[in-house]
Symmetry: C2
């Protein structure tokens, strides 16, 4: 009954191997290039933060405690007052505490902290006000952490996001730009046009409409929005029941309804469906206006969408890339105006052979209240995020083999006396810009050529260079084109023909040139 | 006395701004290219791990608890036995626990976990033994975490490492290669030859020598090594005292000595200094042999160093790049054979104007016992790590301005009606491969041209494009070369001449070509 120390990862965490990393790095590199081309700077922030500096805006949750990895700082520190001075007890002694820390759950909360930290003193000195809060545009990528109590299959507790944000503008040109950036980034990553769709909505339009049908209090509104937000999971029929008299779920449990009148529920559902079958943004705007335009908030939201639509039209972003979707909610998080989401239209077959959709791979929107929580100054902001790991998964399943890590030229190890020669040749190749590895595993069984070639194969090495005593004496190397070999394997039946087309004896003096040629074929 | 929520980072943590990130990314990109060229694959592992899977090999510490951020998993999980089955209590109920988790303190412990996890089942089934443990070469970079109780100025609790390792070979060719990789990587990053030195030693030689002077037990050896390891901090004289009768430190506290006889202490110090003033590796090897060669362990270590030296000589890595240093220890960590460290020879002036050295920027060595702790199978390994943040700091202080992030072409905002036109021009520039940003800050004060230009200046924008109503009517833009403007600022006294050389009216049809030319000047 001895306790074991079993080598393993925490549930919901994973290692990224060379192939998957190649995919992840490709996504990051290409998207970052696009973000940069729009003027976003690359910043980075710590993975670990004071929990209260991350605010209480965990997406989909009301408090930062739920769904977040948190613990106490091992260092005892002074408790600070609202003016950042140290709290003291009755005896004048500084009150100390082990502050709660948290692993960041997204990259937006740390951005709000960065922006607020840089301006906090100036705001207190009244040098920065709403009227002159500076513009800040940055992109950032890296892991974020969610402690999901029930870990569904395929869900991760550590995953990478790739965000860009504009802080300090209420101009929805920035929102319109965010949608175009997502489109440009996905195409740069290799998602062809027509395989994704940027869907856009405006919270203000929805809020205004709900007001116009009598959903008057914030509490009522919140309850309705929460039900609408479940649409993807529960579908239209169950959503209708939850807005009305309630329903019984598949487990037999009662899900209470909001008790809205049928007429109200019908209006809401018609509103959410008003873009169904409509192919032009202009037409959706018209229907929006008919349904909710009288309300002031809705009118404001509509004007914003109209401005965004115009900018897209000017720059040629038509409905093949960006559409309006009145049912888009983006969770209960901090969004206050335009919201956007990218839906992948690619499908894959699950283990039972059923065709499945991937759903959302990017999301974002305007969050004009987030910075205020920390800085005490209303600074409007908007931005979006690519779910790097989700997108990598999508590309891997929808386009298998699209990106795999290529290994180095493999130099086999035959003879101890030739080892310096192997390394010399590897260096010559490297000097010519070609990655090369001399096999150095020396566990007995693994010196065998079969094992060496299995290693090279595992690593996806394109070429193997073999030099034994005979070759060395003749001043030649045997060069095997492993990549070509694999390609010809299925079509060639004559082994001798196969060998002669993928294997060649090459004088050492010509080796670098020969390998170079083989690699560029 | 209200508690404040002050936006700030945890002590020892920091944000990375665009300039510093440019430097960090340059280091990573260039070093990774070199690592790849030697056949290392890019892997990644979680930031958070089960504490016991990280082992008890915290560098410089005896246990994983010291110096590590750790906390309990919020998820209750079964306790596992040595065969990975679940522990049960007397009633047959599975014993549950909130397992201790830790933020990784380096990238080597997670590597040992990755390797062990992949092979653990096969080892238990006797399919993998010492004789056929596979070769694995990977590189990895990312943040690591050290909870330093006393945080000295300039020290960080979150910092980035950039490691490469070879697991599964006892061949010191891999160690020799590691030293060459460090050298190649640093030169690729921009450290010129002669500004750094790879220093190499072998624990076995030192151990063997200590045996030969009567340091016979592991306890004695450990005590002596701990004192030697402090050499950098305390210097030769205090080291001598600590090996002998002890000393009193600057605070007046007594530091007990090991009580070695003067003759023994003298021998040890002579040994540690035997390379002083010696410029060839061959000569150091000779002196090593004279001093410790009779001992078996020392002889084994010497043969390893000799083999490494030969490989370096074959490939042209002379003493300008790699030297032997008998006093090099690399802490009390897990190293078992060759150890290496890169010393920067660049200096900087501290705040008091004194010339300072940077010291160590990379380190590594052979650790043949680490994997065994987790896998129960002795799998030899060797590798090294670049301290990314330390190196970035060095490059920033020793070569100020060497790498700064370049901003986008800046498109100023004059006129609401022209906004779509600004975005259209930005897109034309982007389509030509030029980053461009339309100013979108709309807080009142920040629409002013002076504020806009300050923003462009802050972002290091090379060029500004200005289009007001007059320009638009004429179909032209005013293009300012901000970069050239800065360069000429110090030399030009005539303001009109300065303006005419950095500012130009350009027809919109020629704008992209004109900007392109300005950028490549």
């Amino acid at each position: 009954m001895e306790r074991g120390n079993i080598p393993r990862k925490i549930k919901g965490f994973r290692d990224i191997d060379a192939d998957l990393n190649e995919l992840r790095q490709t996504i990051i590199r290409e998207a970052a290039r696009v973000y940069r081309s729009y003027g976003f700077e690359h910043w980075d922030t710590p993975v670990l933060e004071y929990a209260d500096a991350l605010g209480k805006y965990m997406p989909d949750e009301d408090t930062v405690d739920k769904g977040v990895y948190n613990f106490r700082n091992p260092e005892e520190e002074p408790v600070l007052l609202t003016d950042a001075s140290e709290m003291r007890d009755a005896d004048g002694k500084v009150v100390m505490e082990y502050h709660p820390l948290a692993l960041r759950y997204d990259l937006t909360a740390p951005l709000a902290r960065v922006y607020s930290e840089r301006l906090w003193q100036d705001v207190r000195r009244n040098q920065i006000m709403e009227s002159n809060a500076p513009l800040f545009r940055r992109f950032q990528y890296g892991p974020v952490y969610r402690y999901e109590l029930k870990l569904l299959p395929g869900r991760l507790r550590e995953f990478w996001q790739l965000d860009f944000d504009t802080v300090g503008t209420s101009d929805v040109a920035a929102d319109a730009e965010a949608c175009m950036i997502l489109s440009d980034a996905l195409e740069a990553i290799g998602m062809e046009r027509g395989t994704y769709l940027v869907k856009v909505n405006n919270r203000k339009v929805l809020k205004g409409f709900l007001l116009s049908v009598g959903i008057a209090t914030e509490e009522q509104e919140g309850a309705v929005l929460r039900v609408i937000d479940k649409l993807d999971k529960i579908g239209w029929d169950d959503m209708r029941l939850e807005l009305g008299r309630g329903r019984v779920d598949t487990s037999g449990a009662a899900v209470p309804g909001l008790g809205l009148a049928d007429a109200t529920t019908n209006s809401i559902i018609s509103f959410l469906k008003l873009a169904t079958g409509v192919s032009s943004r202009a037409e959706v705007l018209q229907k929006f206006e008919q349904a909710a335009g009288a309300n002031e908030t809705a009118a404001e939201g509509l004007a914003e969408l109209r401005k965004m639509d115009q900018l897209w039209a000017t720059l040629g972003f038509d409905e093949e890339r960006i559409v309006f979707d009145p049912s888009l909610m983006r969770g209960m998080a901090y969004y206050t105006g335009p919201v956007f989401e990218v839906e992948s239209l690619l499908t894959y077959r699950d283990e039972k052979g059923r065709e499945r959709k991937f759903g959302s791979i990017c999301g974002g929107g305007r969050y004009d209240g987030l910075v205020e929580k920390l800085l005490g100054l209303k600074v409007p902001a908007t931005g979006a995020s690519i779910g790097v790991d989700r997108l990598a998964e999508l590309l891997r399943m929808a386009k298998p083999g699209a990106v795999t890590a290529q290994g180095p030229v493999f130099i086999a190890y035959f003879d101890d006396d030739l080892q310096p020669e192997y390394y010399r040749i590897a260096r010559l190749l490297r000097n010519a810009g070609i990655a090369a590895e001399v096999y150095c595993g020396n566990a007995k069984g693994f010196k065998k050529m079969k094992k060496q070639m299995a290693y090279a194969d595992d690593k996806n090495c394109p070429i193997a260079v073999l030099i034994g005593g005979d070759e060395a004496a003749k001043g030649v190397a045997t060069v095997k084109n492993l990549k070509l070999g694999k390609e010809l394997e299925s079509t060639t039946t004559d082994k001798q023909a196969w060998i002669s087309s993928v294997q060649q004896e090459v004088p050492l003096a010509d080796l670098v040139d020969y390998v170079k040629k083989q690699l560029t074929q």
